[in-house]
């Protein structure tokens, strides 16, 4: 047709190197400087510190009961706040509350770009849609990993403070237990973040996807599980839901009796550990694949 491929300018650096890496770096830059990200992550860390430590410690010292510790013995309460309980404490709030927050993060990372027109700008820079999405998902995953680590650090700091104040042992749990706990926490949080990312992509809007996602995770799944206790087919349907899988994965690890009044909301024993892990893993594959399929085939307007 013509000779337009000749004579590219020699000074240009664009288009060289690994486009996925470039996209990851670009997305990390804008996430790092996004106040909404810091506010959301901060809200989670504060909420986690309050429910896992602060309320329990106030209850422990005042000797009264509150809704988050009803029925626990004082000694049991103290033990749950010490560093040795870190492996159990870390993932407890994640299937429901932490997950919901990660879903909000995923949804705003993916969804806001459509309203702002930033995906349009990004997709005219060079990296393909696949590279751009992989980079964005990698940045999101790094963010989730950072949140999980920050949760661990906060928990450890709180536990250490309790142990020192109450002159208790500051011994950490076994490394293997802590590693398993971290792994489970990461899987659960990542699954919800990817679910939010898919919702944000489907809706092409942060507000709609955040709203729908939260109603689903916090309300609809709970209601379905309630109905499931009397209808067998609803029950088997709830077994493949992300909330059930995440709740069971953590629930089976820390050992939970969902019927008891002092169980952490969101923790379940509906699925075995293996089944729960397989379901979460399936979501970790299916959610990004569906997002990829959508991003590749849709027109960007």
């Amino acid at each position: 047709m013509n000779a337009t491929l000749t004579a590219p300018r020699p000074t240009r650096a664009a288009g060289t190197g690994n486009p996925v890496l470039h996209s990851t770096r670009a997305d990390l830059l804008r996430l790092r400087k996004w106040p909404a990200v810091w506010v959301t992550v901060g809200a989670w860390l504060a909420m986690n510190a309050m429910f896992a430590y602060l309320f329990n410690y106030v209850t422990y010292t005042s000797g009264s009961n509150n809704f988050s510790n009803e029925g626990q013995s004082r000694a049991g309460l103290l033990a749950s706040m010490l560093p040795s309980a870190l492996a159990d404490t870390l993932p407890q709030g994640m299937p429901l509350f932490g997950g919901a927050i990660m879903m909000v993060l995923g949804a705003i990372i993916a969804g806001n770009g459509y309203g702002w027109g930033t995906w349009k700008t990004v997709l005219t820079q060079g990296p393909s849609r696949t590279s751009t999405l992989l980079g964005s998902l990698a940045a999101t995953t790094l963010l989730v990993a950072g949140v999980v680590l920050a949760t661990l650090v906060t928990d450890y700091a709180m536990a250490l403070a309790v142990a020192v104040t109450e002159s208790q042992s500051t011994a950490l749990p076994a490394t293997g237990d802590l590693a398993q706990s971290l792994g489970v926490a990461l899987l659960v949080m990542e699954m919800w973040a990817l679910a939010g990312y898919l919702l944000g992509t489907v809706a092409r809007s942060a507000a709609v996807s955040v709203g729908l996602g939260l109603v689903w995770a916090l309300v609809v799944e709970q209601l379905l599980r309630g109905v499931g206790s009397s209808l067998a087919w609803v029950d088997s349907f709830t077994h493949v839901l992300p909330g059930t899988a995440a709740g069971s994965l953590v629930g089976q690890m820390v050992g939970v009796d969902p019927g008891s009044p002092n169980a952490t909301p969101g923790l379940l024993d509906a699925l075995s550990s293996g089944r729960a892990l397989a379901t979460v893993a399936a979501y970790l594959v299916l959610l990004p694949l569906t997002t990829w399929w959508l991003v590749r085939r849709r027109d960007v307007v």
Binding site: T4, R9, A13, S23, T124, Q125, S128
Partner: protein, 317 residues
Amino acid sequence: MDELVAQTRDLTKSYGSGDRARLAVDRVTMTVRRGEVYGFLGPNGAGKTTTLRMVLGLIRPTAGSATVLGRPAGEPATTARVGALIEGPGFYPYLSGRDNLRTMARYRNLPDTVVDEALERVDLAGRGRDRFKSYSLGMKQRLGVAAALMGDPDVIVLDEPTNGLDPAGMADMRSLIVDLARHGQTVLLSSHLLAEVEEICDRVGVIAGGRLLVESTVADLRGGRRLRLVATPVDRALAIAMRLAGEDAVQLAQDAVLVDVPSARMPEVVRALVTEGLDVHEASVSERTLEEVFFEMTDTGLHPHAGSPMSTLETIR
């Protein structure tokens, strides 16, 4: 100069299906050559942005094809050599202008020095550290152009780049575009402002109702200079002009006679009128503006009963 930088063949985009299908772009075939400023001219809603989006690979054509730098539109290797501002600047509102450009530069794997150069070029260096959402419409637009300039792309696609700019900003933007072309970059520019296109573009494609009505140089489109005569009696002036220039070359516009003759023959026509005893009140050379051409064309383009667009073009010429 005759290398083709961008080319579309029967590019078509329709939305919806069956009876409710709407053609946004209808078999557009256009060519952009290396080093030129190509003006894509048409009223709002004519299909300019949709065509440009297809050229950039943002949306998929329903039919036809678009080629950029010899490769199918939207391929990563091609996109990396194209800078674009499409339908308003899309940036992160919470980031500063500079950080927005840094983000985009990372996608292109360009160093931050490129960002500062780009800000300098659009006169935003002083406001680079302010948040994007605090920018005025014109500043946002300029940041969009800055993003399109980063990394010296071969082709720069600018969709209505002077939107929202004040007159001084518009003038700056136009001289920037002319400057880009002078340095060998090809600019594909869409606009609904005729004066803008007339001033800075080498060639234009006129689009209306999703169809490319004509593609030509600005000079060809405007046609030659015409002799405008006000003389009495008008009917005799008309007859004399027709005798000298030919019937097709003469038009009556209100009380003036417009004669299409080469500049060298204009004195001959005036002399003939005087010799034949007519009163010549006014004799001037008028140039057709792109605006006149445009309205003649888009009017017919928008009304299907007014004949085919190409025959309209013939009458203009």
